[in-house]
């Protein structure tokens, strides 16, 4: 579980604690308002729509465990202060959310406040879900109440000790960092763009991984008005690349159809999903409607890149690794990597991704490159079928130094110009990560 999101730091707990001392108790214990004063009539169509919103929002990734009852909770998120666990969100009245009214549900999802004014940890991405439309919240509620089987699985208490486990300071954090409004369409943009912006910022919560975070672990921007928005971020041993128009570390070289293809099938000629994105793909993006994927692509293509951050655009340079055997790391590349990724670094698109021009080979952050080399890839399950090819784990075969050298080699070949990888960085990730499972991991929603 150590590779899962939100697991590395507790700054979002510690900093608010310090800020909190002088603020008023009423603020932190109040129950925020909800537009839903009465529950709505539910029909099958609404439940079905809610299921789709749950897919968009990828609720299952955190609230379900493989082989267990859907949405019965349990995913452990390790923090330096202790572990917290995703909760049971099945309609069980005692252990789940069966007793929630629509307004209760709304406050939890969009504002991070559970009944009794208990503040949720922002591991729950309510700062993004805050943008969900009323209709989508209503549908989501219908799905969780009617489309999900109740489970009496008890929630696992957090192991964070007192006083750090006090939750009221989160309310202050929310006041500073969580938006209070649903998504407002931009009249200057067309419907497709607005739909894309809504999914990316709201249910898709792409920024949770792809937007860099501030000192308080807040996302530095929650929409396109801030240039850090989706500009790439390091989280839990993976570097989630820029989704902006950066040719090296972002989507600058991807067309809209290529973005759609990637989110729909898990692969295109530039890349194959891996790391944390495998979970997002397996559980969420592949289930999105084609129109929605097109909308996402349209929106992402509108986010400008930053040449100062991204550097000189990559250009392929033809060279065979076999001709450079004296270079450190080249021997390892030729013997361990070239079968799939090619002596020319071009891979075998769309099954084995190229390393020439790959984000992980161009980005300053090298965590993803190290992590996947150590641990291999999780199985990509597209349309119910596990992938034909997977990345092996090399942690048992290559030393820290060998991995550092082979990655340094690949990050400096074929026009790649990224910094060398240090063996200490490999050692650190080796210690904190586990190899990916070679078996497909399927999370069910029903």
């Amino acid at each position: 579980m150590s590779n899962r999101r939100f697991a590395t730091t507790a700054r979002w707990l510690a900093v608010p604690c310090l800020l909190a001392a002088g603020l008023l108790a009423w603020y932190v214990t109040r129950e925020p308002a909800s537009p839903f004063t009465t529950d709505t009539a539910v029909d099958a169509a609404l439940v079905s729509r809610g299921e789709y919103v749950a897919r968009l929002s990828d609720c299952v990734a955190c609230h379900s465990l493989p082989g267990k009852t859907p949405f019965a909770g349990g995913l452990e998120m390790a923090t330096p202060l202790g572990a917290i666990h995703a909760t049971n969100i099945t309609p069980d009245r005692e252990h789940g959310i069966g007793a929630y009214s629509l307004a209760d549900f709304d406050r939890a999802v969009r504002q991070g406040v559970a009944p009794g004014a208990r503040r949720l940890y922002p591991a729950m991405p309510y700062p993004s879900y805050a943008k969900l439309s009323d209709d989508d919240v209503r549908a989501l509620y219908a799905f969780f109440m009617q489309g999900v089987q109740p489970s009496a699985e008890a929630n696992i208490p957090s192991s964070i000790p007192w006083p750090l486990n006090m939750r009221w300071p989160i309310a202050l954090w929310n006041g500073l960092f969580a938006p209070a409004h649903t998504y407002a369409a931009k009249p200057s943009q067309d419907a497709l763009w607005n739909r894309g912006a809504y999914i990316v910022q709201g249910p898709g919560h792409c920024g949770s991984c792809h937007t860099p975070r501030g000192l308080a672990f807040n996302e530095k921007a929650l929409d396109e008005s801030g240039t850090p928005f989706l500009a790439g971020a390091l989280l839990d041993g993976w570097y989630a690349p820029s989704l902006r128009q950066d040719p090296n570390t972002g989507l600058g070289r991807w067309s809209e159809p290529e973005i759609v293809q990637f989110l729909k099938t898990g692969r295109n000629k530039h890349a194959v999903v891996y790391g944390s994105m495998t979970e997002a793909f397996n559980n969420s993006t592949q289930f999105m409607a084609d129109d929605d994927l097109a909308a996402i692509a349209r929106y992402l293509k509108s986010l400008p890149g930053d040449p100062a951050r991204d550097g000189k655009p990559w250009q392929y340079q033809a060279v065979s690794a076999a001709g450079r055997l004296d270079a450190p790391g080249a021997h390892t590349y030729v013997t361990r990597c070239a079968s799939c990724h090619g002596l020319d670094g071009k891979g075998q698109p769309e099954w084995m991704p190229p390393l020439a021009g790959a984000t992980s080979m161009l980005a300053k952050e090298n965590a993803s490159a190290i992590n996947i080399t150590l641990n291999g890839s999780q199985r990509i399950v597209a349309a119910g079928v596990p992938d034909a090819y997977r990345m092996p784990a090399f942690r048992e075969q290559l030393s820290d130094q060998q991995i550092a050298e082979v990655l340094s080699f690949a990050r400096s070949a074929w026009g790649n110009e990224a910094a060398a990888v240090d063996a200490k960085a490999v050692a650190k990730l080796r210690e904190h990560t586990d190899p990916a499972s070679s078996s497909p991991i399927i999370l069910h929603m029903r």
Binding site: G384, V385, P392, E396, Q397, P435, S438, I442
Partner: protein
Amino acid sequence: MKRRIETPQDLLDLPAGETINLSRRRFVAGTAIGALVLGFGLPVGVPRVQAAAATAERGTQVPAFLEIRPDNTVRLLCPFMEGGQGTYTAMAQIVGEELDMDPAQFVVDSAPPGEAYVVMENGMRITGGSMSVRMSYPTMRRLGGLARAMLLQAAAEQLGVPVSELSTEPGKVLHAASGRSLAYGQLAGRAMDLPVPDPASIKLRDPGQFRWIGKPVRRLDAYDKSTGKAVFSIDIKVDDMLHAAVQHAPRLGMTVGNMRNEAQVKAMQGVHSVHTLPGAVAVVAERWWHAKRAVEALQVDWQEPGADNTLRVMPADFSSAGWLDHLAAQTGPARDDEHEGDLAAAMASAKTTVEASYRNQYVNHGQLEPPSATARFNPDGSLEVWLPNQAPDMFRADIAKRTGLAPEQITLHSPLLGGFFGRHFLYESANPYPQAIALAKAVGRPVKLIWTREEEFLRDVLRPVAVVKFRAGLDADGMPVAIEAVSATEGPTEALAGKQGEKIDPTALEGLSGKAYAIPNKRIAQIYVKGPAMLGYWRSVGNSLNDFFYESFLDELADKGGKDPYELRLHLLRGNPRLTTLLQAVAELAGGWKPGPFTAEDGSKRARGVAMASPFGSHAAVIAEVSIENGQVKVHDIWQAIDPGSIVNPAIIEAQVNGAVALGLSQTLLEEAVWQNGAPRARNYDLYPILPPQRMARVHVRIVQSGEKMGGIGEPPLPAVAPAVANAVARLTGQRVRSLPLDRHTFS
């Protein structure tokens, strides 16, 4: 092999009216009698059958083994499986020597099951325990002699001269008086119809006159194996065959519950059908790749084992590290295997005492050919199965039990083994043939099932683990006077039985027991600890771990007593000329005993270690030279002297020593099957690396023929490798390693 099943000679034996259809035909005879059918140019002769049935003595039914063809080639049905150890070539040498036929003229295949082929002196027929040659040597020589006598008799009849006037040269009978000669191929038809002579009448060759036994005869399979022509189980093709792949329960004992997406998987490209098997689901398809992808896609709700479960259940919280700690915590009761002298008194009066605890790791077989099986039900209700195995009669009996068929209705084919190392014995839950048979039955067509490498790592049986606690006492001179080893372990044989036997499982303690060193007071004992992991035999079995423990601890005693480990061994072997000679031989091979540390020509600091082992009727002595490179052990050279008593093929022995050293280094340096949460962490070679070429050592071999009873060769060169390396590492670094593999330790 492929070219053999396509020979025109074989086609001539087809019953009239049967279409010539290569892939449907028998290409290895189904029974002992079936072998007779292959006798060229003649119908099944009644005299042959009678001869086969009437001769009771082991290995005398000549026509069951030998087919001499018109072109003067000899097809030998070998009682043993060829998996790289060279038994086909060795058997051709042994039989050819007495038959008077160049082994190069032999074509060898595995014999089918059947009493006729039980040729080992212990009354068994298995390919294992390094037993093939040593346990059948006199019998197989006599077989060649019997066949030669029949050919001589046939020639006498054909030429109308007394047998006494005839002699043989390789491949032919000579009548010196008339200058006439007849090739064996011309005589075979008549000869094989003759009654088999009295075995007692056969006079074997004087070993001093051997042309092929004891010589580096070239392997019969070298060319086929260098050109992809060799046929393994995984390569079998039969007409109308479907392919299958399985997904096993994540933990042994679990059962199949609901399959969530069965309908979707059934609709996948190329899928024929989806099946539920005990503890597994299967997909049958027109192509294996389709079956494999589809079965991986199946989403199964696996159920915890039920009350009716008969398998060893893998608990969800099992871990290999936890299990070793559990073994280390065991205090008894222990059963003695060896107990000599007065251990307690000797320990009490010892000048110095030494204690240490050693442990080893689980390892996988990792043979390169993934398990497979092909099953076909014939219209007459009989069943044919192609599968890798080391014991055909046991497999056929098991198939009979499972299917309710009589053994005679089951034809078992045993293609070449793509490595075995103990993998292909009868392991409940670790063999694909029961699944293949069930699937063939279900779909009404032949089915070939291949396990993916991932399924193989999930279901392979493991080499056992042990935690051994040693105590020893040294006298005032630093000489060992007492040694005790108590091993907390479960041996593979008792694991297969599921319980402890009345006697101690010899495969649990061999290598702790049976050491030749003259230490007057000793006790070797076992604390039996039944574990949840399925265990099996792994090349050199108990010796693969126990000699590491014992020979490493012996070096600890040498260190403590201020003795040189080589000199100490010589001292403890005084009065044992065979092992003294062997130890001196390995030192001489290595240019004299020089433990170091010393600086090598390349500037690296190196040291050497020595160790011995006496497994499977042979004796071995090993010297290893090591250095430390980037914190890890590099083994530069292995010198090995081995005494199997007497030998059949020195070239194959040298190859076997190389192979055993490779596997020995692999378990010493890097192999470890790690289990966590009831599952193997590695499901392929990525997380379970085996020795790669760049970590192989140079190997230097000296064969010592003491003339003692013949011993084994496939396994004996392995066990002394690990302790020799560990002793060299201790010499070099001062770090005494008491667990393997060495890659888990850091050296400076």
